[in-house]
Symmetry: C2
Subunit: 780 residues, 2 copies
């Protein structure tokens, strides 16, 4: 059972609690309580082992391809967390004996995971355990663990088996060759592993340190096994005695920017020196440093405060911010955010449009440096995008649907789940024909630029992305001789239940938008940024491209609203048969429709996996009238199963825009429950990164009403009925704005003086904020 | 807890029983209850999963090398045994709820594993389960499972998740690329996997079939995951209703001799057709066929009957015979017996001298065809032996210490367990310098030949093995200028606690013996087998080799007994320091000395891992006087820790020879407990194949007193005091002899008429047996 109401005083609504051990749903807490710092993430599997646990340790960017039949994936690194604890011959295992006072808590404010309980073993030994764990936000490589064991009812023999275990793997796939194992100074364990194909060296070190109330004899025996090095400790714990074990570990890799040029031997030495120093410092000190970063650098700047009767909303928001910081490789622009962050093997650590459309707004509005780093990743992966375009017979940059290491290009797997009709695996077409991601990246670059005014980004990366993606789209267009229009046929739009469709509205509009903006930026750089123009001209033959753009632009087919104001999602959608979807709309687990239909059959029904036309109405909102939005909402939402976690937040923001406030709040609630909610199976393969980014959008772009419209900041908040106040911070073109929303009041505080004023729009009027503006909200 | 006293009537002393589920020691029953047919072996992991279980499915000869840092090993094939059973939402797991009437039994007579119990789930559902399982002895590819579930106290919802799981691996190492997954005819599941380096295709098929007391709605949903295809079944089980699930599976590989030349597509079709037919036949029929082979072809010919107060001895003997049949790839002369049979990952499925010295006697004396196939394996692997010789700067055939696929040559890993002093892994020298295996193979060929008179074997394989191995030994000898002798320096003898020793007595004597016999056989073939002589001369330049042999033979240094009649195990052993070994002699687990010493230190102490000089006194027994044997026994046995499972049986046979009857019986008891005994940890990595072969030797060569001495059959039995009779069957030069030993009587029955008489020696006299000879034993 997950509870949310814990935490007192300054920690109120910062604590996620599991108050009963649930062996049947280990994945839930492993994922939603994942620890990390963007460099690495470790699923919060318990120290002791259970069937069906999933132990994953990921370092961002450590990709490997097992063989030609599989795609590259984030490799599961040797585990340091697991420990076997044996009391008088009985293995600590909470499915045996009696457990009381059980509590596992993730402290979002400090990044520490604690677990405490009292256990009566089947033989009758009574002990208390307190486990603590963190991954340092202060220092990329450090992992800390601390275990307190107290014997209650008698003296007992305790055996602890703990070390480094490289036998872990990705659902049966081993990505590492075994390297050296070594014990140094009878204390420091080191294990080296090297990815089999990408040849990345990983060095894992660990050190144990016991703290006892009085001098104690602790027998220790070093053991090595295949891909494993560990200690067996053995000691007597007296009645009422407590012992503390600290285990400090680190991970270093040859992919780390700082160590790219050092030899493996040096990397071993560096990491060994580090573990010596870190273990010397000890858990409390190391944790304190990490906690200070969480407190002073993250929460002090990023916290969103929601005053409400329902504490859960506040917690859900902080849960989102916590995870956004844990999942994002802020330290390295060669890496991006995985669809499951660093919290699970789902989607293999790949990056999707999820980053640009669902997560980047958070970073652009709150920590633009990170947003820029994530966009730079796309720029650095242009090589792979060119490769993909060429392979598909196109020009320019065709970004991969799924992206991993920079040069990899397209890494989407080709085969998926069982087709219940044919008995074969279903072919995954996204990697071939789900092409809108290329516009999504351009859109995100534009959004970042408009929010930040980061000209330097545009000059170095942004303009080129626009030119290159527009070149792709121009080459992608198909001339329809009969209709005298350019079409984009045989694609998958955001709605992946419709494959091989023609003229998906979202895809066409976004392609058009990309080319249109490329034209604008072409003019801009030609006129005002000659150096950039010259550089890009040499690379891309800009003038020729430009002439194509202006030729094709107005002939690109943009599906228009029909008489009922419905924009057809694609050429055929509106003619497909309608069936009663009630059963699937009320489903307990997503994807239930596939128990009865295969994808080919679903393709023939008016049913959508997720927001498709809706997301068009959100991203390019100023192109469509309120009436069109309403009509399309009413048409498409009932046909949308929200089988993708990307769907709810878009609908929430739109519902708010359309004045459906209760529905908006309801959708926010549902979105916030995707990971944090009571369904214990949703997060097994990892948290839903896009949904978590979407949660922030629900609150800031939805209830907070913040939007960037054609370069202008708009703030039109509307609090849910149960909320008393909402306070959040955004950055706008270099200035920090503190925004407070009360049911009938909007307060904008300009905290910094980068610009003399910040202008924003509210209800059609422009306000210039020098220090503070307070507006009355009338529409309550 | 393992019990041994079960089985009534014809099954008396054929049943191994576990009468209490023991989650902490799963490895024990997984290994000692392993099922197999020589083609494949599957550890008897339970259907439901537990932490620390080890699921292994091995097919003999399916070797793969993960990468350059590792050696080739028997690859763990996709699992079909595991099933998840969920009752009203609760996963069947015997560590929860209440278990009663638990019984797991391996029936050695029929090869069937059964497990039955009643389970009260934590929620209070009361059910009975009966699981049955076998691997067909009648047909190489077939695996059968049957599960009966009965609901007792109310109606319940049952969910069964079952299929084929290729996520299993070898302690974290995945040896297979993922191939096709497919469901045929909404019933037959198929998964293809291909070893990554050796490129062997494996096709696994499975089919489920429910049998109900009355018509029943069973919902089924096909699922695919990475390397996995499975069904989810869902149904209601009424109060007092029983349902039966049959799961029939098969495994086919491209290494199968019968399918070497077919395409993967054909292999898929062949295996699919097979599974259709087999699942049509159903469990009872398929099992009946397999059982008939066990009964009529194995036990009817092979059973050893021991009448004794201690039933355990009888069971232990049958346990040994069962395992010898399960572990031996009788179907294919390109394969040999692994040190752990097909029952675990220990020693990576490699073949050692264990086969020739400890297991082959069983086959040579009871089923010579199989013995010949195993010796042909060595002949077929001469290429690897030549390669190894060349790599080491020698000539002829230097057999690998560890052997896998024919051409692999040496496959011994280079690094082993932790060195507690240096903190590094210990280097394993066996693959480099444990060289006696080459003589052991020649010795076994000689023994087989003398027991069977299989001239055809000698002409095609045997003579060549002798010539080739003698050539190796001649090139291996080192001339000692000072002493005017040939030495063999820097070796490891059978005692692996002494590395880099000079003139290990066993090694030198056996090398000398090999060359001496090669000289004899050279003369034989030159004089009487001209064709063979010509063929081998062309291959090996025999005349030149012969001249070397006769030159070196008498100059090979053979360590002689000293004044105390002790034969020095090697040049330095007798000068090493002696320490008090009591602690280690009384150890609970083998290898305890390494908690205090590293191998380098152990090297400097008069302590032996296992029989070394003793095995010399056993194999070349007619070279040494009774007094020398006694003296050496008294000297070496107290220094021998029996840390190798190969040690006890040799000591048992010798003790019997030396008239130490009580000790012999005691050692037999210890040897029989290596796997079957109460120590629950010994068999985790698999059963001890050599020890199991040794058990047969204890009884037939030891208590039964059967020996082949220079080509002559000797029978000098001596029953342990507790035994009332011993009856066993051997083949001698084509005839079957039924031998019955009573405390004061020996009865030899010649059951067949291949030869008119069979001669045997008893107490120095030769008897000619035409039909039956009864002798009185006087020395009781």
């Amino acid at each position: 059972m997950i509870r949310y109401d814990l935490g007192m005083n300054e920690e109120k609504n910062f604590i996620v609690t599991e108050d009963q051990f649930d062996q049947d749903h280990l994945g839930k807490c492993e994922a939603i309580m994942v620890l990390g710092n963007g460099y690495m993430g470790i699923r919060s599997a318990t120290e002791e082992s259970y069937t069906n646990e999933k132990r994953d340790t990921f370092v961002a960017g450590i990709f490997n391809r097992f063989d030609e039949n599989e795609v590259t994936e984030l490799a599961n690194i040797a585990d340091v967390i697991q420990m076997t604890i044996v009391i008088d011959g009985e293995v600590l295992d909470l499915s045996h004996g009696d457990v009381s006072d059980y509590k596992r808590q993730l402290n979002l404010r400090t990044g520490e995971l604690t677990r405490s309980f009292t256990w009566r073993s089947p033989k009758g030994d009574l002990l208390s355990f307190v486990f603590r764990r963190f991954i340092s936000m202060d220092e990329l490589h450090t992992i800390g663990q601390q275990i307190n064991i107290t014997a209650h009812n008698r003296s007992m023999n305790i055996k602890i088996i703990s070390g480094i275990n490289g036998q872990v793997n990705n659902s049966g796939v081993q990505h590492f060759s075994e390297g050296d194992k070594r014990l140094y100074e009878k204390k420091f364990l080191q294990l080296v592993q090297t990815t089999t194909q990408s040849k990345i060296d990983v060095v894992v070190n660990t050190a144990h340190h016991f703290k006892c109330q009085e001098e104690k004899q602790i027998a220790s025996l070093i053991q090595m096994d295949r891909r494993k090095i560990y200690y067996e400790y053995d000691f007597e714990l007296k009645e009422n005695e407590m012992i503390t074990l600290e285990k400090i570990s680190n991970i270093y890799t040859s992919r780390d920017k700082a160590y790219e040029c050092v030899s493996l031997k040096e990397l071993k030495t560096i990491s060994y020196e580090h573990i010596k120093a870190a273990s010397e410092e000890g858990y409390p000190e190391l944790f304190e440093k990490s906690k200070r970063v969480w407190e002073n650098e993250i929460w002090a700047n990023q916290d969103i405060q929601i005053e409400s009767d329902k504490d859960y909303d506040q917690l859900a928001m902080r849960f989102a911010i916590y995870h956004l910081y844990v999942m994002t490789p802020m330290h390295d622009n060669r890496m991006n955010i995985a669809a499951k962050g660093l919290s699970g093997e789902g989607y293999k650590g790949h990056t999707f449009w999820d980053t640009e459309i669902f997560i980047l707004p958070f970073w652009s509005y709150t920590n633009p440096k990170v947003a820029r780093s994530l966009l730079e990743y796309r720029y650095l992966s242009l090589e792979g995008a060119h490769k993909k375009a060429k392979e598909n017979g196109y020009e320019g940059a065709m970004f991969p649907w799924e992206s991993a290491w920079l040069e990899d290009g397209e890494v989407t797997p080709v085969w998926g789940a069982a087709d219940i009709i044919t008995g074969k695996p279903t072919k995954i077409w996204s990697g071939f024909i789900e092409q809108h991601v290329t516009s999504d990246i351009a859109f995100a670059a534009w959004q970042y630029y408009k929010i930040t005014h980061d000209e330097e980004f545009m000059e170095n990366y942004g303009y080129e992305i626009f030119m290159d993606t527009a070149i792709f789209w121009t080459s992608r267009l198909e001339w329809n001789e009969n209709k005298n229009i350019y079409e984009i046929n045989d694609v998958v739009g955001p709605d992946e239940y419709k494959e091989h469709v023609n003229n998906n509205a979202f895809t066409n509009y976004m392609a058009h938008w990309t080319i249109k903006n490329a034209i604008t930026y072409y003019k801009t750089i030609k006129e005002t940024r000659t150096e950039v123009y010259t550089k890009l001209s040499q690379k891309l033959d800009l003038d020729k491209a430009y002439h194509k753009w202006i030729t094709v632009l107005d002939q690109i087919y943009l599906p228009q609203a029909n008489e009922e104001l419905i924009i057809p999602q694609n050429d055929t959608y509106l003619d497909l048969k309608c069936i009663d979807l009630t059963k699937y709309k009320n489903q307990e687990h997503v994807g239930s429709m596939f128990k009865e239909y295969n994808l080919e059959q679903v393709n023939e029904i008016q049913v959508s996996k997720q927001a498709d036309t809706m997301i068009l109405l959100y991203l390019l909102e100023d192109l469509f009238s309120h009436e069109v939005k309403i009509a399309n909402w009413n048409y498409y939402e009932p046909k949308t199963l929200h089988d993708s976690s990307l769907s709810l937040s878009t609908h929430c923001v739109l519902a708010n825009d359309l004045g459906q406030y209760e529905l908006a709040y309801d959708l926010f609630g549902k979105a916030s429950e995707i990971d944090l909610g009571p369904n214990m199976k949703t997060s097994d393969h990892g948290i839903h990164a896009a949904s978590i980014g979407g949660l922030w959008q629900c609150v800031v772009n939805g209830f907070g009403g913040v939007r960037m419209l054609g370069g202008i900041l708009r703030i039109e908040p509307h609090l849910p009925a149960t909320w008393k106040s909402l306070r959040f911070t955004i950055t706008w073109q270099g200035d920090i704005l503190d925004i407070t929303v009360l049911p009938s009041k909007l307060k904008v505080n300009k905290k910094t003086k980068k610009n003399q004023v910040v202008e924003f729009m509210h209800k059609g009027e422009i306000y210039s904020c020098e220090e503070e503006i307070i507006l009355t909200l009338n529409d309550m």
